[in-house]
Symmetry: C2
């Protein structure tokens, strides 16, 4: 399955149906399209969702920086969109993606590595790449 960009009018009509919250955001889940692995959870505003649908490259909204967050722009760890699906309430979106490298800023493939186990919080994966390698040393 490969992604095809909807035209501007279709994108606009689809985004009009999304229920953004009081801050203008929806929750976005990124899942590796072929393995089913959950990579990360982040947020999108209307502009981020439109850019993602237009370009086929995933763009989030960074709540900490207050602006668009083109995933992988600094690290090179981009997400190519395969399919996007709204839920029944249209206030969350599932992004099926092809992840280049790792999704997590810690250098792990997935952000969800802290398992809640009988012995406490257990890190079930280690970084595939050092964070310094992803983001430079300043």
């Amino acid at each position: 399955m490969s992604y095809t960009t909807p035209d501007t009018a279709i994108r606009s009509a689809m985004i009009d149906r999304v229920k953004f919250n009081a801050d203008g955001l929806i929750t976005a889940i990124a899942q590796q399209h072929d393995t089913g692995e959950i990579l990360m959870l982040a947020w999108m505003n209307a502009a981020a969702l439109d850019e993602t649908l237009r370009t086929g490259r995933v763009c989030y909204y960074s709540r900490s920086r207050g602006g668009l967050w083109r995933k992988g722009e600094t690290s090179g760890q981009v997400q190519h969109l395969v399919d996007a699906r709204l839920d029944c309430d249209r206030d969350a979106v599932l992004l099926l993606v092809d992840q280049t490298g790792v999704a997590c800023h810690t250098g792990r493939r997935s952000c969800f590595y802290n398992a809640l186990r009988p012995e406490g919080i257990v890190e079930i994966t280690q970084p595939d790449v050092a964070a310094e390698t992803l983001y430079g040393k300043g």
Copy 2:
């Protein structure tokens, strides 16, 4: 893999490390543990997360009703917990579950059935069971 309940002290210590938002909530993703299918996205407060970890049956927090939402209590469509994993920021939790029946209140297995396609929003699945069957006719 089967779920083992952490004891009270371990649960309490783990929940102390979770970063709940200003409303006291975290985002929760439910994924069918063996197929990787994303079932739904909902919210948990500390009490819901503790009940889930204690009982091995998933309990959310309903923002619309303002109280605990024991998934399947009315419909019988319960979620048995297999594993729970916090993300790197500890403000979202991935629940690997065994879903009885359907997760969505529309009678579909997954809530994420509205695909954003070149032709517009396309419903890619139909209900497996009528909502009236799940919730009665009042």
